[in-house]
Assembly symmetry: C2
Amino acid sequence: MATIQDVVKLSGVSVATVSRVLHDSPNVLPATREKVLAAIKELDYRPNRLAQQFRTQRTMNVLVLLPRLGDSFYSEILRGIEAVAAEAGYHIFVANTNNSVELETYFFESLIQKQIDGIINFSACLPKEYMEEIASQNPVVVACRYLSEARLPNVTIDNMAASKDMTEYMLNLGHRRVAYIGGNTALALYRSRLSGYYQALEEMNIPLDEELVRMADPDIQGGYDAATGLLRSGVEFSAIVTSGDTLAIGAIKALEDHHMTVPDDIAVCGFDDIEMSSLLRPTLTTVRQPRSLIGRRSMEKLLERISGQDSDSGEQIILDYEIVIRASSGKIRSEPG
Amino acid sequence: MATIQDVVKLSGVSVATVSRVLHDSPNVLPATREKVLAAIKELDYRPNRLAQQFRTQRTMNVLVLLPRLGDSFYSEILRGIEAVAAEAGYHIFVANTNNSVELETYFFESLIQKQIDGIINFSACLPKEYMEEIASQNPVVVACRYLSEARLPNVTIDNMAASKDMTEYMLNLGHRRVAYIGGNTALALYRSRLSGYYQALEEMNIPLDEELVRMADPDIQGGYDAATGLLRSGVEFSAIVTSGDTLAIGAIKALEDHHMTVPDDIAVCGFDDIEMSSLLRPTLTTVRQPRSLIGRRSMEKLLERISGQDSDSGEQIILDYEIVIRASSGKIRSEPG
DNA sequence: TTGTATGCGTTATCAA
DNA sequence: TTGATAACGCATACAA
């Protein structure tokens, strides 16, 4: 690879001038510029990015941290992020944290060390205080995670309200024994959704039965296992609210395997509206998050943080959600079940 | 951030010694090591990665290039890659090319410039010759793409044979008018699968009707549109072979929307065996790729290339596939047609 | 066993 | 408008 020194030799000017040409500095004579450009072309010279980044502390790269790559929930979000990033000349890298604190720490170290210009974090397993500390000094946006109490840029829907709305919808269908299958409440995200369920019950004066509340890995298998557990425990219920579409899909499969019909025997609803949810039979009633917008807003916010315009690092961006009624929730029950 | 110079001042030794301690060099007196370690701890000193990388030309980072992030097909592959990478102390970054030559070029430039130590490329939109050129000088593994003629490390199944087997299976069920919905044949991957279809027809002496062959975007919508086109054209067929599960899923949806039953009216099969395929009704008959193994082997191969053991850059790794029979292909037809 | 000094390729400051 | 030169933080060859 040719270096700037090679260009210097061939063009007969100084490094400073080559650098000026490279960055379209105005104070270069056209003739000089031509000479330099010719040399660059002849040598097929391209500036060494690592050296540039080392020197300038800027990479024009942004990292998106996902808890689990391949969750289709994130693909549309990423498209939103990429659209905004491309416009601003940034490139997007994605990394998988597997909800591992170690991995997340590694990637945040990359940020602190300026190997990347910013992080949009959908993972957020690190302690809130630590995240706030880092976010106060580096461009960080947390999306779809954390409670509103966190003092850092945060793009999300109101998970509690959405879960409450969804639960209320089910209750209004006439269900009184409504089970809940949720993700690990160690994550604020799932805690919020569970609270929404609690609140809906409370407001409608329906007693809470802890037997009906199950925690599961937030995937199809997790939903399957949790629903199986509910059935085996013999506890009575006519509907299941979940904190994720994959959980709902797994639960439906378990119900079917136990010869029950959804929604006729048991009504089910999900959360997220992933692509699959409108394709499976029965189609899934769920909460739709504005995925493209989540992506766009997150990246816009990050760009503000990167360019330093935004000193208020505690801003929350709460986006609208939408309850999507499909087949899995069924119709109104004539008599409460 | 503290630098190595700060450690030098605090510990009273030279940079060289600090560096030795940092890299567990044996030739350091225990007492000296203690002093340095104490200083490092007190200053919370962490080596600047960018400077290290710039100096050593090594990053311990590997990039995985995907044509489209969020395709669940890749998630298990990535787990395989990550498992092998973690063992070797490497970290995985993922980037989306959207099948854009520009983006892919950008990321390969990152490789050439040593911003990353290697690339596993599932995208591969660049001209074969260009890729071969880069791969001959840099650690590159191409996976699930390209023909076997390419002279670079390549991990894949035999797409042609798999597609031929799958088509033969459908023909053996008694179908004679078998349509094909495939991805863009600009990609060798889809060319191979289409050839498999052709070969199966030829070997069984079934005349080829080009009206039955459709090209589509390799997603659900693409499959839906292509199947709709087939139905509207009025051409006769009793089965559809596809070059991807998403295409098959879209096709099934189109058939259902036209009041046809799968597999009773039309039999359908996919390719890849993505997660959804065993969950949708009807469950999908398809070709299963050994995804975890594809990931592991790709990363192993890349590590060999990185450590330079492997001078033979043309090695092909062809893995086994498996035909998975489920509901969408239906049973044997008593009378052909 | 330890220290000195050089260079990696670039940008940026200052002087001319 | 241009050039000389000093950083950036680290690793390492060589000397001591």
